[in-house]
């Protein structure tokens, strides 16, 4: 007796999963991108908080170890004619989240068709060159230019001495009797440009500033150059994605309403057919 054949396996048709609407997929993709931006935002926020904490601690240490006569490293010492060494530069860039900008009504996060990208660095003022340059590191002012070394903030505090060194002056050590000749040679060499007054804010507080104050400057530069412009860019980018999510949700709601109306019409027609039969 032959063994009964196994019952024929039913070729089960895979249940058609309700396919997500393209609008829903788009919203999910946007929200995924948004969450990635949010993650970066919160990470940078934490980093900024840590930098600010270090900055305040260094300032407190500088005030604690201040020389006699220095009351407080604060506004009493600000230069009333200060000029910004670090400036903002905003460029327009087509961001991933804002690539499909279609007639932005509110103009949030939009600038010339793309998202604004903020950078902060030692840039020359607008109108003094650098207008057509990109935002790469190579466009930063060279160390020997105005403001470049002035706000370098490397914390070594030797800027004043380095300023006085010129290659022309670094010849072989001249005997004392030749010193006058050497001085004359130096005088004859035309200076390419007048030495700019140092704009390093540390100089407001004196020539020999304490180490904690220089360290505070280092933290501030890191915050201003690395964290704050990125946070501003993220802010604009997130605003752009929010706008797109809201638009996509509206589109989806519109499609759903149209679908519901179509089903209702169909049911109504089916009801009429049943009554007629």
């Amino acid at each position: 007796m032959s063994s009964p054949l196994p019952p024929p396996t039913k070729v089960t048709q895979p249940q058609p999963q309700p396919r997500p609407q393209p609008q829903t997929e788009q919203i999910d993709a946007l929200l995924q991108h948004y969450l990635a931006l949010l993650d970066e935002y919160t990470t940078l926020r934490a980093y900024l908080t840590a930098l600010q904490t270090a900055l305040f601690q260094d300032l407190a240490r500088a005030n604690f170890s201040a020389e006699r006569g220095v009351r407080h490293y604060g506004r009493d010492y600000y230069d009333e004619r200060m000029q910004a060494g670090r400036r903002v530069r905003v460029i327009s860039s087509m961001g991933e989240g804002g690539g499909e900008a279609e007639g932005e009504a509110e103009g949030e996060g939009e600038g010339g068709g793309g998202l604004p990208v903020f950078t902060v660095g030692v840039y020359p003022p607008p109108g003094q060159g650098g207008q057509g340059q990109g935002i790469g590191g190579e466009e930063k002012e060279k160390p020997d230019s105005e403001g470049g070394e002035a706000v370098d903030g490397d914390g070594d505090g030797d800027d004043g001495h380095e300023d006085e060194k010129h290659p022309e002056q670094e010849g072989p050590a001249a005997p004392d009797d030749d010193a006058d000749d050497a001085d004359e040679d130096v005088k004859k060499i035309p200076n390419p440009k007048p030495k700019p007054k140092s704009a390093d804010p540390l100089r407001w507080f004196g020539i020999l500033t304490p180490l904690p104050l220089r360290q505070a400057q280092g933290h501030a530069i890191k915050a201003v150059e690395d964290i704050i412009p990125r946070l501003a860019t993220l802010n604009a980018e997130m605003a752009g994605v929010e706008l797109e999510v809201r638009r996509a949700r509206k589109r989806r709601a519109k499609v759903e309403r149209a679908e519901e109306k179509r089903v209702a019409d169909l049911e109504e027609k089916m009801g009429k057919v049943d009554v007629g039969a």
Partner: protein, 123 residues
């Protein structure tokens, strides 16, 4: 719609904060005083004696009147004093960022970006 020309000249950061916050940020070289006779500063040091009206005026000046400010930094506890004004600010330029101060740590609950996030997710 913010045009490219709108932000081309926005080259300064502005700060509204307590003395240590402003001093720290000015150490980075962002402080600027315009040429006479205006002598407009791009920072405001706020202390216990500073009126809310003065803070609001500075905020208004940095965000609306001056066209050379790209980013406005304001201590979060000072932003709380003009919270309504800060929350109703919706312009793209300049960007307003709230930063922590020495005596008042950063509170995410008050952060305008994170509040927007909550609104987006329906909370």
């Amino acid at each position: 719609m913010a045009s490219q020309a709108d932000f081309r000249d926005r080259q300064f950061l502005a700060v509204i904060g307590d003395e240590d916050s402003v001093t720290g940020l000015l150490l980075a070289g962002i402080g600027h005083v315009t040429a006479p006779p205006d002598n407009q500063k791009n920072f405001l040091v706020v202390d216990a004696k500073t009126d809310n009206s003065a803070i609001e005026a500075a905020f208004e000046r940095f965000t609306t009147e001056r066209k050379d400010i790209g980013i406005v930094l304001i201590n979060q506890h000072i932003a709380d004093r003009i919270r309504n004004r800060v929350d109703t600010y919706t312009q793209a330029f300049p960007t307003v960022l709230e930063i922590p101060s020495k005596d008042h740590p950063y509170d995410p609950e008050k952060d305008s970006v994170l509040r927007r996030v909550r609104r987006l997710f329906g909370e």
